[in-house]
Amino acid sequence: MAKGQIIAGDYIVAASVISLLFASSVIMWWKVNYQIQQDFMLSEMKAQADSALKLLIRSPGTPLNWSKEVSNVSALGLAKTDRVLSQAKVNAIKTIEYDRLRNLLGVGGHHVYVKVSAVGGSLVTEAGQLPDGQFVVNSRRASVLDGKPVFVDVSVWDRVD
């Protein structure tokens, strides 16, 4: 080999290594970006579940007697007073059309499931769609119905294809 010659093979190897490093850093960026977007969505869903649950157990809804004419409900709430639920409203929530329920609970494009259950676990009422996706967040609070403690659960869920 003549002195001072530059071997192209060395450059090709070096360029390949740099290209591989670059490609792996781009792939890592995509993964991190995807993770951030997932966290973003989950925190949004958690905020929506908490907000919906607070609304259900602490407010009576608008109009106050919306359970008599469910089509007239403009804001949803199950309470007679703070954290004391109305049996009529608990019964009426399951008759609300699903898209309307999502809108009233403010979950946007996500899905929602509301469950009221006795402390022993027996179901009192449920509304919405049972969670069936890889992203599910749940909020639970205790409340009172007919003088007995109950749990109110709000699940906000979604599936991402």
Binding site: A8, Y11, F22, P63, N103
Partner: protein, 140 residues
């Protein structure tokens, strides 16, 4: 493949530059250029993502403040201060909050608590007042 060959005093080749080396250096420069462009692009993406997240946090706080005022009952008031002045629109009847205008972010809140659309231009302070069955929103 020698582009240029210069003979030294004893006839040895010196300072050779091959076409392969030229091609490889060109590829290396192009690769470097792509890396720099990608880095700039990713940096811009990161800034946009950060800005979106900041607005999303504000949006969520506005939605939860409206819910809080509604849940607390008639004549309760919730005040909030935004970290920076923003254009805020609350579409109360459909339960949507928009922060930052056309290039901003949206988030949802329970519909019906605010019974109309409220447009707040470059506001830094928002008051939510429960007027019995609905929430009035004012900027300042």
């Amino acid at each position: 493949m020698l582009l240029q060959t210069m003979k030294g005093g004893k006839g040895h080749p010196r300072g050779q530059v091959s076409l392969e080396a030229g091609v490889v250096v060109s590829i290396a420069l192009i690769t470097l250029g792509v890396i720099i462009m990608e880095t700039i692009s990713r940096n811009n993406d990161a800034q946009l993502l950060g800005e979106s997240y900041r607005r999303f946090v504000i949006c969520s706080r506005i939605a939860s403040s409206a819910s809080e005022a509604y849940s607390l009952g008639p004549y309760s008031t919730v005040n909030m201060t935004l970290p920076a002045a923003e254009n805020v629109t609350i579409y109360g009847t459909i339960g949507l909050v928009s922060v930052g205008g056309d290039s901003g972010v949206n988030c949802n809140m329970p519909s019906g608590m605010v019974n109309r659309t409220v447009d707040l231009k470059k506001t830094g302070f928002i008051t939510f007042k429960n007027l019995g069955g609905w929430v009035e929103v004012k900027g300042g």
